[in-house]
Assembly symmetry: C2
Homo-oligomer: 200 residues x 2
DNA sequence: CTTTTACTAGAACTGAATTCTAGTTACCAT
DNA sequence: ATGGTAACTAGAATTCAGTTCTAGTAAAAG
């Protein structure tokens, strides 16, 4: 009855192993520097298998990107649920971002490296994911706006205000332009983030 | 006596025409979507000529990126020289960024799309350019720090604090995730920027 | 146990990036 | 001015990575 695509039990494992291999290769040789042969042999499978699951090299890159974004978003929302106040929440976002960027630096580097030049389809999926994330964040912060702890601003402006500076710093740190580690400036950026959105 | 490379009078023009053509192609079909044939015919020259001047497709991409960064930096410093106070300067940075991103959106989109995955050489050049820019900015803002108008912070932190949020917003706007134009939120981000670096 | 089809394998194909060879012009020294 | 040198240009030829194709294999469904 169900006309959904049937997938086998082994499929998720294979897809995951390809994505793992891809991230390792990309982080070592860059996106353009790695061939699908590299990914193929790192994942221990054939070209056929890769093209069956992902359709193209770009397809792998897109899936990996989307997976990374989803994991980061989930991680952030999970962290937020342990917070009591608006201030604690805002500071947690900055802290969690730093922890993610330093612990999963391969993925962080990959996510920072590209988001344009994807297929229209992938961009649409990303836009949906982002919208959903923005809404979840907004739902989390709304009560603190209501109580007057935080400023009322256009929805799309909270993420840039809170995460923009730390993201920009991390981007430059990942590309080797800064020597001071994100941890060393975390408190400073947390202060700035809170200062930007707290009620005056 | 000089063992510098001699370049002909026509060379800069040819290089410029190739870079112009490349930006047009990249902005229309994306970096990976454009072939060097595309660039070649748009610039009206041969493959040989392109490879003589740039060495590779990646070479073109790197030169274009570096050129774009240099132009943006120059533009910013030029704008700053018309400012009297620290506050005026900080607000000018945000405003000029918005103007640049909306007027030269092809270049803005290109600069936002990639900075990692360049050759070690290009990354080093970018690092030098960025360091020089940071120092120039610091030299500009130092007097305002001295007079107590602005906070004294680690050098590398000013750019993320001031431009991070607007950059992040523009990035998302360029990739079609936001409908509200940068101009509509410029004042808000200028306030936040000034608030982040002004003396308390 | 048979049928169906997701899935895998790897050889063959295609086309874009790059290299090569043969010129052609600008610049300089005499 | 003129001959030499090296920057520069052209476009055919090559290479090699991405993709497609065909022939299977094995897991689920009936």
């Amino acid at each position: 009855m169900a006309n959904e695509r049937i997938t086998r039990a082994t499929t998720p494992a294979r897809r995951a192993s390809v994505l793992d291999a891809a991230l390792a290769c990309f982080s070592e040789r860059g996106l353009e520097g790695t061939t699908v042969s590299d990914i193929q042999s790192a994942a221990g499978c054939s070209v056929g298998s890769i093209y069956h699951h992902f359709g193209s090299k770009e397809g792998i890159a897109e899936e990996l990107f989307i997976l990374g974004v989803q994991r980061l978003n989930q991680r952030m929302l999970k962290r937020l649920r342990r917070c009591k106040t608006g201030e604690e929440s805002v500071r947690a976002v900055v802290g969690e971002y730093v922890r993610w960027a330093t612990r999963e630096s391969a993925m962080a580097r990959y996510l920072h490296s590209r988001d344009v030049s994807f297929s229209a389809d992938a961009r649409e999926r990303l836009r949906d994911i982002h919208r959903e994330y923005v809404e979840a964040l907004f739902a989390w912060f709304a009560p603190f706006v209501e109580t007057g702890e935080m400023r009322r601003l256009p929805v799309q402006v909270y993420i840039p205000l809170i995460s923009g500076p730390i993201q920009e710093y991390v981007r430059r740190w990942l590309s080797g332009q800064h020597t001071r580690s994100p941890q060393q400036v975390e408190a400073l950026f947390a202060d700035a983030a809170w200062n930007a959105v707290k009620a005056r």
